[in-house]
């Protein structure tokens, strides 16, 4: 008799199950999908930031050999509804002006890169050639690049039918802010600027669409949200829902939020497939990508803190002006990110009195699209760096200022309405200071200074969302927040899990399998995970906002538990035991009676009965072994904490700085696979360092993007970044079945304040501040020389 194995899969740093195919070059990405008879699309995009289109002459392009069709804006618009249908418009209160959006520009272009003409050809080389032959006459209009200019009442309006250039304006907060400021011993008041940067995944966007009158539209697309996209396509294109199938490929080359929106190109490719009745393929090139997606974080904070002399923050006032670009990208309209950044502004701090005024202003730039840390990047910079400035101003140790203000009691609801479910933020913070050896570094700093070396230490907090429950998500994006999964035991006793969210490198095939293996007492290799196909998987809102480990895994666990109830009934019946369910252990692919270990049935036998021989089932029991669960946490939202710290050395002559140490103390509740969690944290920090130091989407005064290659938009290489140390400090949440929380999404958020505070500490000169991102050697040199 074999013993009951207690080996758990959850918590083990096992190798990923998706890796062998990726390592062998056998991954299936969107670029690898080509259907018979595929045509290729190239887009002619605006070279002007703001202009009226006087004339488009496509004759030469149409006559170019190999060109299948040339399509312009009006034709596409006539075939569909304006893209921003009500079901994808956020309902966040405030005042919202909604732009009219069609896939291609009609009459007017609003940014350099605005798509105008689609060329469809027999191959991509021909499509690109023909694109050069399209002649477009523009009448340039005044370009608005600065959101504060665009806010002025006499500014020209980018959307002519609007009453102003403000896409969304609203207020957030609670408490008696006036009183807090009256009672303050000190008021900090600064303007913080977060530059335009974000996430450029290594794989650009891409889509392959096909259409026939019987099966309808099939769209392969590297989307983070296939179900949401399917719903939107059906509504915008007026096609019955059963005739729209969206499939996210098995492998997606990173997304980080940029593949979450409903883009104009998505609708265009579908329309072209419907028009031509031939498959249509579009792979965004890098230049288009850098001109179009992954731009976020672009905002100004006029932040004021009411501070008591011991460093306690009594109140906060902030006026945020976000540059959302043209505001025409579906679901987020460029404003949901600044909104969430504002809602999360107070981060991990207990600040009861808050008033935030947020204006999201349109300019002649591409619309903001979500980027890892969703709205939090500039907000964390302003908030946490402001706490360091407070400490400097009041001559306090920033460690004490942080400790005094960190949230200590849970659940905690912020003045902006965000619920922190559980955790030990102070414990994590103290662990960081220990890991940094804070006191010793401060001592070494003094020694080094004597030798002319400027060493500094800094830190910041990051409370990152761990999925967002329906309570918040329905309002935020008009979509449910639940996680969903179907678990099936198949005819061979293997376990299939179907999830509605499809991954882009997060490792779902491993982590979900680890959780399911424990629930059903099977080996991880007995499990296969299916995702991506909206015709096969349960509805879900997509892989974003750290939903995986918190919501999707929990749904898979709940589905297993539903199934286990049935399995136990079958087991009891087959064993001839009088038993309530819940009396069995699932281990070694067997179902074992707790009261007598010798009474056991293999899962294969149960599957065989339930699926192949239903006559052997308990009388009246339905055949089959499958269950679907929708998980919703019994709390408005969960967050997971990460505390970042860095030691830097600054060269005051050049402004250059070296990161000597970068440490993260990280809580993800219960790590399903600690190796994967570490990977998420490493990657998030390096993206944060890239965004803070190397990457900026620069526009000239005419609205021309100057960073349209990876030479100009410098994503860090291995030689540009330091080692990242990660220390686990996990506090299981009581709100998920396994205590798991999501991790990875918010990791870049605390990086700029960590580095800014470390550099400021190194310089240690009264009045020296770094209020503007990015933190380049040049910007530091300028700050050093301005205050002299």
């Amino acid at each position: 008799m074999t013993t009951v194995s207690e080996t758990k899969w959850v918590g083990r740093a096992i190798r990923r199950r998706e890796d062998p195919r990726l390592l062998a070059g056998k991954g299936k990405y969107i670029g690898d999908i080509t259907l018979p008879g595929t045509t290729y699309v190239h887009l002619v995009r605006s070279t002007h930031a703001h202009a009226r289109i006087r004339n488009i002459d496509t004759t030469k392009a149409e006559n170019y050999p190999g060109v299948v069709a040339v399509v312009t804006g009006e034709e596409v618009a006539a075939a569909m509804k304006p893209m921003l249908v009500p079901s994808i418009i956020p309902r966040l209160g405030g005042e919202l002006q909604i732009p009219t959006v069609y896939p291609l520009a009609i009459d007017k272009v609003l940014w350099v890169g605005d798509p105008i003409v689609a060329i469809i050809a027999e191959n991509k080389y021909i499509a690109e050639d023909a694109a050069q032959l399209v002649e477009i006459e523009y009448e340039p209009l005044p370009v608005l690049e600065d959101p504060e200019e665009a806010l002025k009442s006499d500014s020209p309006k980018i959307h002519e039918d609007w009453k102003s250039n403000v896409l969304w304006h609203g207020e957030l907060g609670d408490g008696d802010v006036e009183k807090a400021f009256r009672e303050a011993d000190y008021i900090l008041s600064e303007r913080f600027y977060g530059h335009r940067t974000g996430c450029a995944p290594l794989e650009t966007r891409g889509a392959v669409a096909s259409y026939d009158d019987f099966t309808g539209l099939t769209l392969y697309i590297n989307s983070q949200r296939p179900h949401i996209l399917r719903m939107a396509l059906s509504q915008i294109l007026n096609i019955p829902h059963d005739k729209v199938r969206v499939i996210a490929p098995k492998d997606v080359g990173g997304a980080f939020g940029t593949k979450a929106p409903i883009y104009r190109e998505d609708l265009l490719i579908c329309y072209l497939a419907m028009k031509l009745k031939r498959p249509v393929k579009w792979i965004e090139n890098r230049m288009e990508s850098l001109m179009t997606i992954g731009q976020e974080r672009d905002q100004i904070h006029y932040l004021e803190l009411a501070v008591r002399k011991d460093g306690k923050i009594l109140g906060l006032r902030d006026r945020i002006i976000a540059d959302v670009g043209d505001g025409r990208t579906g679901v987020y309209l460029g404003f949901v990110m600044p909104w969430l950044g504002a809602a999360y502004l107070t981060n991990a701090f207990d600040i009861p009195n808050v008033h935030i005024d947020l204006s999201c202003v349109v300019t002649n730039k591409p619309c903001l699209s979500p980027s890892r840390a969703f709205g939090e990047f500039p907000a964390r910079f302003a908030m946490d760096y402001a706490l360091h400035l407070v400490a400097r101003e009041l001559n306090l140790d920033p460690r004490d200022v942080f400790e005094k203000n960190i949230i200590k009691k849970f659940p905690y609801v912020t003045a902006t309405g965000i619920t922190h479910d559980s955790g030990d933020y102070v414990g994590a913070f103290k662990t960081l200071l220990e890991a940094l050896d804070y006191d010793r570094v401060k001592q070494e700093q003094k020694e080094a200074r004597k030798n002319g070396r400027l060493i500094g230490v800094g830190f910041a907090m990051g409370a990152e969302m761990s999925g967002i429950g329906s309570q918040v998500f329905v309002a935020m994006e008009n979509q449910p927040g639940y996680g969903s999964a179907t678990v099936k035991i198949d005819t061979h006793g293997m376990v299939q899990v179907l999830e509605g969210d499809s991954p882009q490198g997060q490792g779902h095939e491993t982590t979900i399998a680890q959780a399911v293996a424990d629930e059903l007492g099977v080996n991880i290799d007995d499990i296969y995970i299916s995702y991506g196909d909206t015709f096969a998987t349960p509805f879900a809102s997509g892989t974003l906002g750290n939903r995986g480990a918190s919501y999707t895994v929990s749904a898979a666990v709940l589905a297993c538990r539903k199934l286990k109830t049935k399995i136990q009934k079958i087991a009891a019946y087959l064993l001839g035991i009088e038993s309530d369910s819940e009396e069995f252990i699932f281990a070694n692919r067997e179902v074992i009676w707790k009261k007598d270990n010798s009474k056991r049935v293999s899962l294969d036998d149960i599957a065989d009965v339930a699926i192949m021989a239903p006559t052997k089932l308990p009388p009246g029991m339905e055949a089959g072994l499958e269950a679907t669960a929708y998980f919703e946490a019994n709390i408005a939202s969960m967050l997971s904490i990460g505390v970042h710290g860095a030691v830097v050395e600054v060269n005051p002559k050049t402004g250059d700085y070296k990161i000597l140490r970068y440490v993260v103390v990280d809580d993800c509740g219960v790590p399903i696979n600690p190796m994967l969690v570490r990977g998420q944290v490493h990657g998030g920090v390096v993206m944060g360092i890239g965004n803070t130091r190397y990457e900026k989407y620069i526009y000239d005064e005419a609205g021309q993007p100057l960073c349209t290659t990876l030479m100009e938009y410098h994503m860090p290489s291995a030689a540009d970044v330091p080692d990242i140390e990660v220390i686990e400090y996990n506090v299981p949440t009581p709100y998920t079945p396994l205590g798991t929380k999501g991790k990875g999404e918010g990791v870049p958020g605390p990086v700029p304040a960590t580095l800014a505070s470390a550099i400021t500490d190194a310089i240690d000169r009264p009045g020296f501040k770094l209020l503007n991102l990015p933190l380049t050697p040049e910007s530091i040199w300028r700050a050093l020389n301005e205050d002299k």
Binding site: R15, R16, E18, D19, P20, R21, L22, L23, A24, G25, K26, G27, Y29, G31, D32, Y125, D129, C199, A200, P201, L202, E203, T204, D251, V252, G253, G254, F256, I283, N285, R286, M287, Q504, G505, Q506, G507, M675, L676, R678, G679, V681, H682, G683, G684, V685, V686, M687, T709, L710, M711, M715, P716, S717, A718, A719, V721, D723, I724
Partner: protein
Amino acid sequence: MHPLQDVQKPGVEGTKTIQVRVNGQIYKREVPIRMLLVDFLREELGLTGTHVGCSVEGRCGACTIVLNGNNVKSCLLLAVQADGADILTVEGLGEPDNLHPIQEGFWEKHGLQCGYCTPGMMMSVYNLLKVNPHPSVAEIREALVGNICRCTGYEHIIEAVQYAADRIAAMPKEERDKLFSY
């Protein structure tokens, strides 16, 4: 002779017959003169493990291959320039059931997330370990400057390279040489 001198003057319609050895197999194909090598590998030969991340910039490194023993970005070469070349792509590195130690290192140490940069990254690692069997962390970082990874933050990639280096160092010389025959 510089390979470019072989190329006839544009005429975008023109084709040329080339012969290449890819992963040990010889292919003879008539290709359009202006076809990029990366498109030739992916679309003509169906070797889609070599990826395109930046299209004719050469910055991202996802299309890195080994050509006549050197790392090249296959998006910066025309297929006709590779005429006569001996090429290694990720598909030639190892099979899922017989992985190269470099692949094993990436697997063991979680050196990949989305996997898009990985084939090109491993090609650079291949040439690093070929000439420097015991690279320091700094040397590894330096050797990988031409390959961007947006997911891992490089930490686990460095561990993967160290793992592979150790594995290879423990092998008999003949086996080691077989691993680096390109």
